[in-house]
């Protein structure tokens, strides 16, 4: 059994705690949070130990890994503390408040040879994996445009609020929603290197943006759009999609479908001319325990697997997450200077 602990028992932290609790190779030894309400629930109904001090938890319990799901501003000091003590780390997204902090943590994790992963769970959805595979098989021919989009109903009326309404603490649609899309673009299509335009708009929130519209130029020369809005109540929940257009057609991919339109058939992929739809029912990654979506369990399974097999992780490394934070900085800077 691998001993694990969690800090930050918000929506994601509790969800991770449940997934880890059900994992056959993991012993969840402790949880940590600032809220006595949540800790008391754990004290009353479960047998894991509870802490209010992260460092004390790591010192006393000596877990082999920690899951860090606190507000973003605490990520850097907590991840650093864990890595310095030889503890593998799974950290929620967005990674850190500045790209340089993320780069420092990447270096530290690599130097110590520790498994490091960030919770960009979309990479564990079968449809997005399939999109990446299809692009690598060059089914679209020369690619000339992409669009990464995400919409959802997080802030739909005017209200002040929590750390999420403070731009200095990693709140806002750019960090919360757009980071997912940037990370998908970066790992599936190409790394954004230059921002050609950026609009950060606030509709309901004070202090932070509710929407991000940006023009991105990638390292492979391709350009495209990032369109993200977390104040769109026409969506029941967060809906993320990538569209890629090439000379031989286009692919529209979201969490449930990969819709492929081809001008010419690609026999090696058994793809006919015209539309082909591939569904998540055929592409989902199998998991032993399901909560809210296969991807949440699959990413934790992968993290635990990397630890138990001494494998270097390829998905959602600190390096990749730090790069996403760098793109976020580039977008913020562009919107300020123009």
């Amino acid at each position: 059994m691998i001993k694990g602990a969690i800090t930050g028992l918000g929506k994601m932290g509790i969800s991770h705690a449940a997934i880890l609790g059900a994992h056959p190779e993991v012993e969840m030894v402790a949880v940590c949070d600032a809220s006595s309400l949540v800790l008391n629930a754990f004290n009353k109904f479960s047998s894991v130990k509870t802490y209010t001090d992260f460092e004390k938890m790591v010192e006393s319990e000596k877990p082999e890994f920690v899951v860090i799901a606190t507000p973003t501003k605490y990520h850097y000091p907590m991840v650093k503390y864990a890595l310095e003590r030889g503890v593998h780390v799974f950290c929620e997204k967005p990674f850190t408040l500045t790209a340089s902090q993320g780069e420092e943590l990447t270096e530290l994790a690599n130097q110590k040879g520790l498994v490091n992963q960030v919770g960009f769970h979309n990479h564990f959805i079968g449809t997005f994996r399939e999109l990446k595979r299809l692009l690598s098989q060059n089914v679209l021919g020369e690619v000339f445009h992409f669009s990464g989009e995400s919409y959802g109903p997080v802030v739909t009326k005017e209200k002040g609020g929590t750390w999420r309404s403070n731009p200095e603490e990693g709140g806002g649609c750019l960090y919360d929603y757009a980071s997912h899309v940037i990370n998908l673009i970066q790992e599936i299509i190409g790394r954004p290197e230059k921002i050609d335009g950026a609009l950060l708009k606030s509709f309901y929130s004070k202090g932070v943006e509710d929407a991000v519209y940006s023009l991105l130029r990638l390292d492979n020369g391709l350009s495209g759009t990032l369109l993200v809005n977390w104040s769109d109540e026409t969506y029941r929940k967060m809906s993320t999609s990538l569209t890629v257009q090439g000379k031989n057609g286009k692919i529209i991919c979201d969490a449930t479908e990969v819709k492929i339109y081809l001008k010419k058939a690609v026999p090696s992929e058994k793809l006919e001319k015209g539309w082909t739809i591939k569904y998540i029912t055929d592409l989902a990654l199998p998991v032993g325990f399901y909560l809210r979506g296969e991807e949440y369990s699959a990413q934790i399974d992968y993290f635990v697997d990397c630890i138990s097999n001494g494998r270097k992780s390829e998905y959602n490394t600190f390096e990749q997450a730090a790069y996403t934070d760098k793109v976020i900085e580039m977008i913020v800077n562009h919107s300020k200077t123009n």
């Binding site: 929506k11 059900a22 809220s35 949540v38 929590t162 029941r236 569904y279 029912t281 399901y290």
Partner: protein
């Protein structure tokens, strides 16, 4: 329970196969009258149980049912609580304490006269009961013989190994509402073991059961073993695996498990409802 339970996903833009279809549904069922029309068609075909989430709009459907008692004589609702996205979006925005403040009826400091949240800290069961009562309010005067907890919550409690919460839910539903508690899950074998471990015997469990093993965590073989060997009252959902299976082969597959008491399905057109209902009745 009746063999055929009519579900509500189609009314609220829940489609596990396609985000696009789900938006089309949300346009079609924009107003409550369009939901009521389909519900009435289901009733005219002899379906008397509507299993639905505690979505805000269900409150309007309940109003309609109360105002027209003659049309809904013998009609039953199986509520499934909570409508998780409502809370999930609130937690993202307001945090856990903020969400409790928003959804517990009345002023939380008034509800717990002595010490408000500090008191709440010691009495989670009371909090759970208040939230159940808040969710159940919309069903006043309507028969609700089975009351379910949604899979997000069931599976979270299951993963956290807080099994005693199930026992408390079970006892409260029986005592306060004189109803049978039910559990929706994506992890049926693990849940049944957990429920048995806290003394809940022969529970009603609604889970995905389909030929291709879609959303059957723990594996299809394990599900089949439990369906054949263990004591519980299964309801099959996602029998079409979100549309990946054709109705005939999907429902024939269920026929080999005599223990399955009911099938939950949703459809938007009368012929479709009729076809599925006949298939279920001939195979189960």
């Amino acid at each position: 329970m009746e063999k055929v339970l009519f579900g509500d996903n189609q009314f609220f833009a829940v489609n596990h196969l396609s985000d696009e279809k789900s938006r089309a549904q949300s346009i079609r069922f924009k107003d409550d009258a369009s939901i009521i029309r389909v519900l009435d068609q289901a009733i005219s075909l002899g379906i008397d149980t509507f299993m639905c989430t505690t979505h805000d709009r269900i409150a309007n459907i309940c109003d309609h049912i109360r105002k027209n008692p003659a049309d809904y004589n013998g009609f039953k609702i199986y509520p499934c609580m909570p409508y998780a996205h409502k809370y999930a979006n609130a937690v993202t925005e307001l945090g856990i304490v903020g969400t409790i403040k928003q959804y517990v009826p009345g002023n939380i400091f008034g509800t717990f006269a002595k010490g408000g949240l500090a008191y709440l800290n010691k009495d989670f069961i009371k909090l759970m009961q208040l939230l159940i009562d808040a969710e159940m309010k919309m069903f006043a005067g309507i028969q609700t013989p089975v009351i379910f907890i949604q899979n997000v919550l069931v599976d979270m409690i299951l993963g956290l190994k807080m099994y005693r919460v199930f026992a408390e839910f079970d006892a409260y539903i029986r005592k306060k509402y004189n109803s049978e508690p039910g559990y929706i899950t994506m992890n049926m074998p693990a849940l049944l073991d957990a429920l048995n471990s806290v003394g809940i015997e022969n529970p009603i469990i609604c889970s995905s059961i389909n030929k291709i093993g879609f959303r059957m965590s723990g594996g299809k073989e394990m599900y089949e073993k439990y369906l054949k060997e263990r004591e519980f009252r299964p309801i099959a959902m996602q029998v079409l695996a979100a549309g990946a299976l054709r109705p005939k082969e999907a429902i024939e597959y269920l026929g080999q498990f005599p223990k399955i008491e009911s099938v939950l399905f949703g459809a938007s057109s009368k012929p479709h409802i009729q076809e599925t209902k006949s298939l279920i009745e001939s195979c189960l």
